[in-house]
């Protein structure tokens, strides 16, 4: 199994506002604290590479305290020069949120060339509140996503210049310099929470599917749907097409791990992801049938989940090294996920570094049968 270190780069704070997104006043953001946090977070990434993590994951969110990374490509750029071996997974760029997605093709190509071909390029639509922050029309989200993805892949693979004339994006000359280093282009991943349309699209294009912050039962179900779809398209999914993003907390014993996780994971769910329903589901962001499906099988909002829901539901893993190993076995052996993207939130910077070391020493080596395999070879293209 491959391990990727995932960071939200949160701005940890408490507040009583109804939303941590879009409207939470940025007066509460202290750039002095932000300076310390960004540098700690980047140190954690660099530490992760030294400790043996296979990849480092950044992502895009706007106007919130949950994740202060409006430009993941900037963070990837810093990592490209400060690391030498680990993959740099951008999970991902919010394609429909850009007015000029050709810029994404250019930036990823730059990063790929600088990093020596270590970039993984996630394509996402962005979650609901991003449509309030960027004011991109959410009723165009899906079409813009597919159109931008097509444009970017063509920009990477077809010799330029060529003309592109889409519904949302139009260019008389598509001809980005540089071209990416990886052939035919950097692997593309689809991080998602299980929308059937995205599962289908990712399987058809052979793009790895990353389940983000989802209960384990649902992960199993969506993996099943993805594998089935791959077979319908005439191939068998590689295990490196099935990836999962789940926070892991490891400590000397279960009790201590649970105490830490109760604090850090609940902050993510109860504060970081706190927002009104109107932000989660902007008009037209879901198709009407997807909207009906979401009502027919109601799921709790993040703020409605208790710590027990998170732990028992398999949204997170926490425990002693032995417990964490056992729980990870479910992902590696039963769900047959090839890559685990995980942050190890521990509270302070020092505690996080310690937790990372414990994980690298006592958990990771037990899952290294595939140490010699390049998980990106032939995947995601």
């Amino acid at each position: 199994m491959k391990f990727y270190y995932f960071h939200l780069m949160p701005y940890p704070m408490e507040h009583d506002e109804p939303s941590s997104w879009v409207t939470l006043s940025n007066r509460r953001y202290d750039p002095e604290i932000g300076h310390a946090l960004y540098n700690q977070y980047l140190d954690q990434f660099e530490h992760a590479e030294r400790l043996g993590w296979d990849g480092l994951c950044v992502n895009e969110h706007h106007q919130n305290c949950y994740g202060t990374m409006p430009s993941p490509n900037l963070m990837a750029a810093m990592l490209a020069r400060r690391t030498t071996r680990a993959k740099i997974a951008i999970l991902g760029n919010g394609l429909p949120l850009r007015e000029n997605p050709l810029r994404i093709a250019e930036e990823i190509a730059m990063l790929d060339v600088v990093s020596g071909g270590r970039i993984i390029s996630g394509f996402v639509r962005g979650i609901g509140p991003e449509y309030f922050s960027t004011v991109v029309n959410p009723t165009h989200s899906r079409e813009r996503f597919y159109e931008a993805a097509e444009l970017i892949v063509r920009a990477w693979t077809e010799p330029g210049p060529f003309a592109f004339d889409g519904r949302f994006y139009r260019y008389p000359f598509v001809n980005p310099w540089p071209r990416p280093l990886q052939k035919p282009h950097p692997p593309i991943w689809c991080p998602s929470q299980g929308s059937s349309e995205t599962v289908e699209w990712a399987a058809r294009r052979r793009f790895p599917y990353l389940m983000v912050f989802t209960p384990i039962k649902r992960i199993a179900q969506i993996y099943g749907e993805y594998r089935e779809a791959c077979e319908r398209y005439g191939y068998q999914a590689s295990r490196y097409q099935l990836t999962v993003n789940l926070p892991i907390v490891v400590a000397e014993n279960d009790e201590k791990a649970r105490t830490i996780a109760r604090q850090t994971a609940l902050w993510v769910y109860h504060t970081g992801l706190r927002m009104p329903l109107t932000f989660w589901v902007p008009p037209g962001y879901l198709t009407e049938s997807a909207f009906r499906r979401s009502l027919a099988v109601p799921r709790k909002l993040p703020t409605e989940l208790s710590f027990e829901d998170l732990e028992e539901g398999g949204y997170i893993i926490c425990g002693s090294p032995a417990t964490v190993r056992d729980k990870l076995r479910v992902f590696s052996d039963e769900l047959r996920a090839g890559i685990v993207c995980s942050g190890l939130p521990a509270g302070s910077h020092e505690a996080t570094l310690d937790m990372m070391e414990m994980f690298a020493r006592e958990v990771m080596p037990h899952f290294r049968e595939d140490a010699a395999v390049d998980e990106t070879a032939g995947i995601g293209r």
């Binding site: 329903l277 109107t278 037209g284 009407e288 909207f291």
Partner: protein, 262 residues
Amino acid sequence: MPSQHRLIVRETPVELLSDGTGPALLFLHGAGGAGRWLPFHAELARRFTVYLPKHPGHGGAPAAEWIEHISDLAFHYLDLLDELKLDRVHLVGSSLGGWIAAEMATMASHRLKSLALIAPVGIKVDGWIYPFLFAMELPQLVATVFHDQAKALALAPGDLTNIDTLAELYRERAALARVSWNPYLYNPLLRRRLGRITAPTLLCWGERDRVAPLLCAEAWAKEIPGAQLRTFAASGHLPHLEEPEAVAAAVADFCGPREVAR
């Protein structure tokens, strides 16, 4: 009781309510007003044949994917006039419906005997940014739209535990967002076209409007040649709902003489 009709306008299905006797009057509803025959409409139906269609995607009506821009809705209603074989009508619209009506008037003033705009949105007004209603939960929405919040009950949605009801509301919000998310609630091209309107125009405005305050009314009055402005002291954004008799009388008194004159 109004009668219900279903017709097809250039392949787009239209559901409409109709009642009354007299000259034809087309009413275009605002968001949330689809399919609601209000006391205001009943009042007008005493002197006019009132037609109240649902915008595609609103009030449970099927969505029309081809509608991407407010002008698409304007063309749709000009086509509806043809389908109804109405050569010239009195055109009345509230809020979003007022915006559509104004777009129609800039395209085809000759089809209008008169134009009554009830707190329309649709133009950019210096010094005012429309509050972003899409981001509001119901209580804040009601407090923003209505002066007398009890009046909001007239537009209360059905059973909010019912999946069909919720899906229809979601469809309606999507239909609204398609034409109004960004630029939010206006067409940058409309304001400079308002000078083309030759139909006699009445503007009705709630003095307590918090969506488009009186400042906006002044901008409309300035741009539409000869437009008259009537304000209503005890109303928010929907004066025809908060003061139905007074607004209906103002509209009827404005439209009636235009009927005779032409």
